[in-house]
Symmetry: C2
Amino acid sequence: VIRLESVVKIYRIGTVDVPALRGISLEFLRGSFTAIMGPSGSGKSTLLNVIGCLDRPTSGRYFLEGRDVAGLDDNARSDLRLHHLGFVFQSFNLIPQLTVLENVELPLFYQDIPPTESRQRALEMLEMVGLSDRTHHRPVELSGGQQQRAAIARALTTNPSFILADEPTGNLDSATGQQIMELLANLHQRGRTIVMVTHEPDIAAWAKRRVLMRDGLVHAIQDSIP
Amino acid sequence: VIRLESVVKIYRIGTVDVPALRGISLEFLRGSFTAIMGPSGSGKSTLLNVIGCLDRPTSGRYFLEGRDVAGLDDNARSDLRLHHLGFVFQSFNLIPQLTVLENVELPLFYQDIPPTESRQRALEMLEMVGLSDRTHHRPVELSGGQQQRAAIARALTTNPSFILADEPTGNLDSATGQQIMELLANLHQRGRTIVMVTHEPDIAAWAKRRVLMRDGLVHAIQDSIP
Ligand SMILES: Nc1ncnc2c1ncn2[C@@H]1O[C@H](COP(=O)(O)OP(=O)(O)OP(=O)(O)O)[C@@H](O)[C@H]1O
Ligand SMILES: Nc1ncnc2c1ncn2[C@@H]1O[C@H](COP(=O)(O)OP(=O)(O)OP(=O)(O)O)[C@@H](O)[C@H]1O
Ligand SMILES: [Mg+2]
Ligand SMILES: [Mg+2]
């Protein structure tokens, strides 16, 4: 269960305040599949960053499985991210100097999984997203959609219970996008909790609930028609 | 007029050859508006890079307004890009250390336009894409869609006769995406030649012709139903 209470996030640029989140109260039940939509700049990525413990709220409270997360120190948060959260970034965030395979293995390496086992696991994930023939490429040698799929593979490699995906199909053609959504739907059916930001209604349709943001606030919540 | 004859592009990764383009012959008439679609990895960005003189073909010929471009040296190609081509990159390619305004002004600066005039022009473009209140932000302080719009503003700032856009709405919500497409349609009506890569059929519908790629080749060409 993920619970946010009156979460506010204000960025300070010089003397200007940018209120990215203006008071978000939301709950995500275990095993739920939620899509977050809204205009560019409405706070979707910021919300996901707070949920993913990548960013601290300016005020408000954030509970992850009952624990007050905002209060934890950086090491504890980093630990949470490593063991429970899989994050697909809007701009991929692959490490340029490492190959695709090394990028996907990295979280397992940090979890102290033995090298042969993490290599095996990473190769399985890369096969799942259709990148088996690109394992020794570096990110700059990949197409936009291939980089996106590598980022997805990396997020899923630790088999996390929470999957946070920011525009996971933004650079994918419809067919490949469908494959990725089937993968996510499958993980959802096996009990994972998924929060996905998307601007495409066809992709949002895969989720069971839609949260619409506007100007740093929750504007509406729609339960999908079964 | 843009003409490609049997253009081949092979990337070499160590000992492996990746044939990104396997023989492309295509023509783009002056004032045309073409959408390029196709699966992830099919060669769309590579094709756009060749057209935009950012990459040289391995073999084949490329004529821009009648001139054999592939034969030109780097300075001549760089000059072509600066004065005739506006390029919106799939991954934005904004300079992290510069503000949005400085990023958008940069091409004008390279054209030796006086500072007051280039600042004015850049501000106009930023207003057109809805970023007037983000001019002093740095790219990392922007949302994904805001970065995309800054990249679009920068491409259009020199009023280029050829606009090459790689997934220009990939990170934009539907409403903002429509605004950007109206902007491009307007430029097209005023005589610009536009080549746009997209994976979204709704966006491709704004173009007058659709080129479908598959595995580094042109698979089909569809003229749009008027
Ligand atoms: N710099 C590079 N070095 C090596 N291989 C490359 C390089 N750039 C692209 N490739 C390869 O060339 C192929 C075509 O890439 P390209 O970026 O043109 O695809 P795309 O159609 O734009 O895909 P997407 O829709 O995913 O953006 C891909 O298989 C990719 O791995
Ligand atoms: N690091 C930062 N510093 C300052 N301002 C920021 C920062 N990150 C985001 N912002 C601002 O916060 C607002 C919300 O950004 P956010 O990235 O959450 O939007 P978004 O809904 O994900 O947009 P998009 O759909 O374009 O990706 C934006 O107006 C942006 O300018
Ligand atoms: Mg975002
Ligand atoms: Mg591409």
